[in-house]
Symmetry: C2
Subunit: 283 residues, 2 copies
Amino acid sequence: MLDIAIVGAGPAGLSAGINAKIRNKNIKVFGNPFNTSYAYKAERIDNYLGMYGISGQDLIKSFVEHANKMELEIHQGRVLEIYDMSGTYTLNVDNEFFETKTVILANGVTMDKSLEGEAKFLGKGVSYCATCDGPLYRGKTVALIGDSPIAEEDVNYLSEVCEKVYYIPTYKDINKVNDQVEILKDKPTAIVGDEIVESLKLKDKDLDVSGVFIIKESVPTTRLLQGLEIENNTIKVNRFMETNLKGVYAAGDCTGKPFQVSKSVGEGTTAGLQAVKYLDSNK
Amino acid sequence: MLDIAIVGAGPAGLSAGINAKIRNKNIKVFGNPFNTSYAYKAERIDNYLGMYGISGQDLIKSFVEHANKMELEIHQGRVLEIYDMSGTYTLNVDNEFFETKTVILANGVTMDKSLEGEAKFLGKGVSYCATCDGPLYRGKTVALIGDSPIAEEDVNYLSEVCEKVYYIPTYKDINKVNDQVEILKDKPTAIVGDEIVESLKLKDKDLDVSGVFIIKESVPTTRLLQGLEIENNTIKVNRFMETNLKGVYAAGDCTGKPFQVSKSVGEGTTAGLQAVKYLDSNK
């Protein structure tokens, strides 16, 4: 059982992690590769106090180096869902399960733009996890919509089990996709069917498919944890970064503007220390 | 007329300053010498993300260097009072006056422990400003209570105009006090008199004086700005670091726990950007 599970390995998540680590808690940080963070792509950052004129890449590297020096455990993977187990929480991380006493959500800005039919067919042909549900589509035709190169691993996996795989990337530079995958530069508009998924409508054509996989860099917060209070599309927190759920904290871009590294780092510190306080008073 | 007056040159104040500076605002930061900040005295700071294991001194130096590179204007001095001029504010900084459109309070933890009789005799023998009120005590006997070496300049000034000056330092290492000043290592307990101050009671003896000067490193927030809402001894702010007064923001230790550098820096960023937003929408 973890003391603290941190969702997100950006500035907020790492800051929460190092602060809780100093207090000797058993922590795991779950996140995407570091080079996928927004800050990493910034050419120059002038407003993180103490590091004038640093590149986003160097700033993130210094953060990761700090975390490594403190032996913060970082687990690369996508948190697909968090279950409230009344008193504790269970995380589904790429279909591996982790139990924890507290959760710090530091999952950044996660836009929740659903596709028409997406909610209706969830579990009836729509899936957010290729490695979990891929085997159900053995020998069938599926489509995968991906918003970042992270989805390529999923599409390549599907190409090994499915008869035919269409890949609709919504980002620019494709990294590495198997030859048998058909890449379509098109815009998904709706998922249609009767009881189960029958086709994916794109702007220019329709695809007859049995399954539609939607792989986003992060699962939208609204879908991550049932019962979490959201306000103006961000997680509602108080000045101690407490959410409405006991033992659940949030920090960084997911709590709202301004979207600045120092704001995220500061909130991460507060969230980490508040989680420690909660753990110590509930021993 | 300044766009933004920042009270305090610690991590929160400097962070607010650099963020507003990037947006081309006319800013002045008012504060004590850098080596008086709490963080400066820390032997080692492990939780400011990106700078593992740095000394407090080096961390503060890197903050000041950052501010200097961005040509942030820092004015050394104590902000004695802030006047609400309905729409703008006027700062009394060691009896020099500055007008400003907005104020960011980043004045750290300022304990407001009043001495018995202090409030009663304010203006009737009790003063918070030696250079302002010193001349009123020409040829008389006064006492000065100081909580840091900052007060020594005041006590030396008084020794030039007053007949006799007692100095009661409440800190350890005295830096430089004129020979004619009588230093007493004692604890002040009360200011007494009838209509005006007649004596200062110490734990071990009483002093017959006409004036008592109380010089603190920072003026307690509760005394700084009339009408500012305080909650649990800290300035009440919302998630955008707005106080109850229009155009007045707060950041850092003065808004409450945790007292951590990264929390202060993050809040400074938010306060700075929020002040800019306010200025831009009230042009």
